[in-house]
Subunit: 173 residues, 2 copies
């Protein structure tokens, strides 16, 4: 079962984290892997998610945000790490150990064409009905949304950057 969390509003990654916590409480095992996000950009959740090590595998597979000011990496490096991240997720899927797999920010990797849709569709074909897979990130391609069983658009009605409230540790990261 594929769940897609997309849109420009706040809450996509945190929603996947909350879903992981819910599954954990029901006794399931979770594989939580992040595209784009790298260990150079630590977030509050990293420590907590890593603390459930027996039942939750947490991996930051990215190399940082792509194409912004302090991104000095060639695109090929970002592509390589996106492919490696997908292949780790596929290995986890095929191990059949996990009831939930979160592929955080994969929608961004797709949108930036670090990953091809066909590679991702190939991954999705292998997902059994009893396994939930969550894809997060803004700009999910329409082809992906058509394939989803559950899809939520997180629509920004109001954002702190607009209303003048500064970004904050613990709120945005």
């Amino acid at each position: 079962v594929l769940l897609v969390f997309t849109g420009n509003g706040k809450g996509k990654t945190t929603s996947a984290i909350g879903q992981a916590i819910r599954v954990l409480g029901q006794g399931g095992k979770i594989f939580f892997i992040q595209f784009i996000k790298s260990s150079n950009f630590p977030a509050g959740e990293d420590k907590i998610l890593s603390s459930f090590s027996d039942n939750l595998t947490f991996i930051k597979g990215g190399r940082g945000f792509v194409g912004i000011l302090n991104d000095f990496l060639p695109r090929s490096i970002h592509k390589k790490s996106a492919l490696e991240t997908l292949s780790l997720a596929e290995k986890a899927l095929l191990s059949k150990k996990y009831s939930l797999l979160v592929l955080d920010e994969i929608n961004i990797a797709l949108n930036l064409k670090l990953l091809s849709l066909s590679k991702v569709f190939n991954f999705l074909k292998k997902v059994p009905l009893e396994t939930d897979v969550i894809f997060t990130g803004r700009n999910a391609p329409n082809e992906l949304i058509s394939l989803a069983d559950i899809a939520t658009e997180f629509k920004e009605l109001k954002h702190p950057y607009n209303s003048g409230v500064p970004s904050k540790k613990g709120r945005e990261y």
Copy 2:
């Protein structure tokens, strides 16, 4: 700072849970209280949220969903528990112990008029700038959204009940 998570799509409560996990990882303290939801309706997250007892206070303050088939309680009981839940949240706020307060499903309580807008606005007036307060639940009143610093509408693009996928332990509760 007020964050409102509303809309008919999946992910509002789990997003608040993820936000709590993020704040926890940054060393903050969280007060997480639920309107409507009662301990008669256990969810996967309950056990995990309760396990952070030193840094996270978790309370199910509701008496169950209102006006549905197996709701045998008079409306006055639901009103009373909504008021008590708000007053627990206010006590927590005034204790200044918490950097994040989650009032889960309060939007529903407002929409059902178990709580008056003026009582809730009165609560919000007491929120200092350094404290984040998250209100979740569908049908948030527009007056509330106008007051919010951050507001996300969780818009259902696709839902399992529509596509025929049954509701599942660990996914919906």
